[in-house]
Amino acid sequence: MNSKLRNQLVATPYTIWMIGFIIIPLLFVVYYGLTNDANLFTLDNVISFFNPIHLKSFVQAFKLAFISTLICIILAYPIALIFRNSKTKKTSFVVYIFILPMWMNGLLRIYAWLTLIEKRGVINIILTALRLPNINIVNTETAIILGMVYDFLPFMILPLYNALIKINDDTLNGARDLGANELQVFTRVIFPLSIPGMVSGITMVFIPSLTTVAISYMLGGGLFLLIGNVIEQEFLTTSNWHLGSGLSLVLIIFIFIVMGITNKFTDKDEESNLI
């Protein structure tokens, strides 16, 4: 009984935090989303998610998030595999180098990219000096994907690395011993055992990419309205909190569905293993 009481005491600040900063704001979102200016119940805000303009923003956000996640997997898998196989003491140092950008503010990282890829940015200055054709990717989908991949790649590498490092060497030796060649060891043992890590990574890359406001705004030059930007505009520019909340509600439900699907594949302790 005593320890139960103590646990409750220890948990109190977190409970207050959760109620004050997560539950209550969420209830506001639900309230605003399901009412109109006259404070009467309506589903209009929610349904307007499916009006073509909003749906287009959502589909575009989904497409870019999907491509970014795919690129993250393709980039992160070999890196994580190399980290796993290199058994030197320097490995953890190299892993930290990769996640070092995470210690910096996300907006700053995006600004850094802007100065690199601008029309008169660092990359083009160098290309001009080398008499090579300039690149012109700022304000394109490519730039947004680049930003997403750069911003969220560490969130793919880490869970993948964590899943791979848990595979015992003798498990792989065992597969070789039973007649599997290196490709078969990968397809039958390494890959299936890395799926929980990969799914964690997908959750952590796909969802923030889907809902990003800053990356599309800065690297897209305001030409691309992703679903995050639409919601932001409803709150800040149009001041239509009801519509903004309604759209958010649908997005939240969609994310819950995505997480519900991915959680089926995830190790319970995978996410807590991050760092």
């Binding site: 498990t171 030796n173 065992g174 070789r176 011993d177 039973l178 043992v189």
Partner: protein, 365 residues
């Protein structure tokens, strides 16, 4: 005439410039149960991994069934390994683990199902097909690992301290299981362990290794009763190793007193090492005719099946004594050893042999 199944020729292996195996030569006969025994770092696991194909020797050749397999990858070798632990596939159930090798070889479903049934029966885990690996105890996991290996019908099964992670009771049980399996399957087992009791119980040949060298190869009886050097004597069971002098054939001097022995051919007045097992040190009344040395009992510990005692003889030498008869500390006693219980060894001559420390380190690799 039994055939040689495995032949290791001049095998040398370095790890980070450290010599692990030094010009190792070893032949293993078909259908034998061979144990590589030694402390950690003696090279036994390295030897096994070279056989399994997980390590390539820096020098030397590995022959298997007459063919040179030195550079053959593990998946192409007609042998299988049972690893110490965690080598089962955690994402597959028992049946899929056992079927792994057979599926790779593209065997038919009926064949695979039959084999799974047969293997589970062999390791006494019938009906466990659908179980998750996580739901099995350590002993059951090790049985599945054995089943997974033997369905591939290897000519040789390598076992790398497979019982190391199990508790004592289970370990003893599994030792008998392994002997039974070996007899039922009729294949060659090469077993690695640092546990001398395990080696003595199961093997028909023991190879004692230390610091990359083979110290002695022989039957359990030979290894125990006729150790060739001080390392083997200390590593296998407890022993009293004392300095002595070979006076002439069949007479050896210990602590200034003459003992009869059964060894000859050492020359006369030659310094030798003598091994006497603690259970062979006989405590007799000090005034008896048998008493050759005289001394006093100093310590006693009750070990269950016997008393472990220390006796200090008049010249100050300590003798470890095992007996079912209790001799209280402080008691004046005489010491006698039967001639056939005195094992005489040459003093180490070469630098290699002298470098051998008789450390009894049983830490795991």
């Amino acid at each position: 005439m039994e055939n040689k199944l495995v032949d290791l020729v001049h095998i040398t292996k370095y790890f980070d410039n450290e010599l692990i195996l030094d010009d190792l030569n070893l032949s293993i006969k078909e259908n034998s149960f061979v144990t590589l025994l030694g402390p950690s770092g003696c090279g036994k696991t390295t030897t096994l991994r070279i056989l399994g194909g997980f390590l390539t020797p820096d020098k030397g050749q590995v022959f298997f069934d007459g063919k040179d397999i030195t550079n053959l990858p593990p998946e192409k070798r007609q042998l299988n390994t049972v690893f110490q632990k965690y080598a089962l596939f955690p994402h597959m159930n028992v049946a899929d683990n056992i079927a792994f090798g057979l599926k790779i070889k593209k065997k038919s479903k009926e064949y695979i199902d039959d084999k799974i049934k047969y293997a589970l029966k062999l390791v006494n885990l019938e009906g466990y097909e659908k179980r998750d690996i996580d739901a099995l105890s350590g002993g059951q996991q090790q049985r599945i690992a054995i089943a997974r290996a033997i369905v591939n019908e290897p000519k040789l099964l390598l076992l790398d301290e497979p019982l190391g992670a199990l508790d004592l009771k289970l370990r003893q049980e599994m030792q008998y299981e392994l002997i039974r399996l070996k007899n039922e399957l009729g294949i060659t087992f090469i077993y690695v362990t640092h546990d001398q009791e395990e080696a003595l119980t199961m093997s028909d040949t023991i190879i004692v290794m230390n610091q990359g060298y083979i110290q002695q190869m022989g039957t359990p009886e030979q290894i125990y009763n006729e150790p060739e050097n001080a390392f083997v004597a200390t590593f296998i069971g407890d022993s009293n190793i004392v300095d002595g002098k070979m006076i002439e054939d069949y007479v050896v001097e210990i602590s200034g007193k003459k003992f009869k022995c059964i060894d000859a051919g050492f020359g006369s007045n030659k310094a030798v090492d003598i091994v006497i097992r603690p259970e062979d040190v006989e405590i007799v009344p000090p005034n008896s005719d048998k008493a050759i040395l005289h001394g006093r009992m100093t310590h006693v510990i009750f070990k269950g099946e016997m008393y472990e005692m220390l006796c200090v003889t008049d010249d100050g030498k300590e003798w470890l004594v095992h007996s079912t008869i209790l001799h209280e500390p402080g008691k004046e006693v005489g010491v006698y050893v039967e001639p056939f219980n005195i094992q005489i060894m040459n003093k180490p001559t070469s630098d290699d042999e002298a470098a051998i420390d008789p450390i009894e380190d049983e830490a795991e690799d």
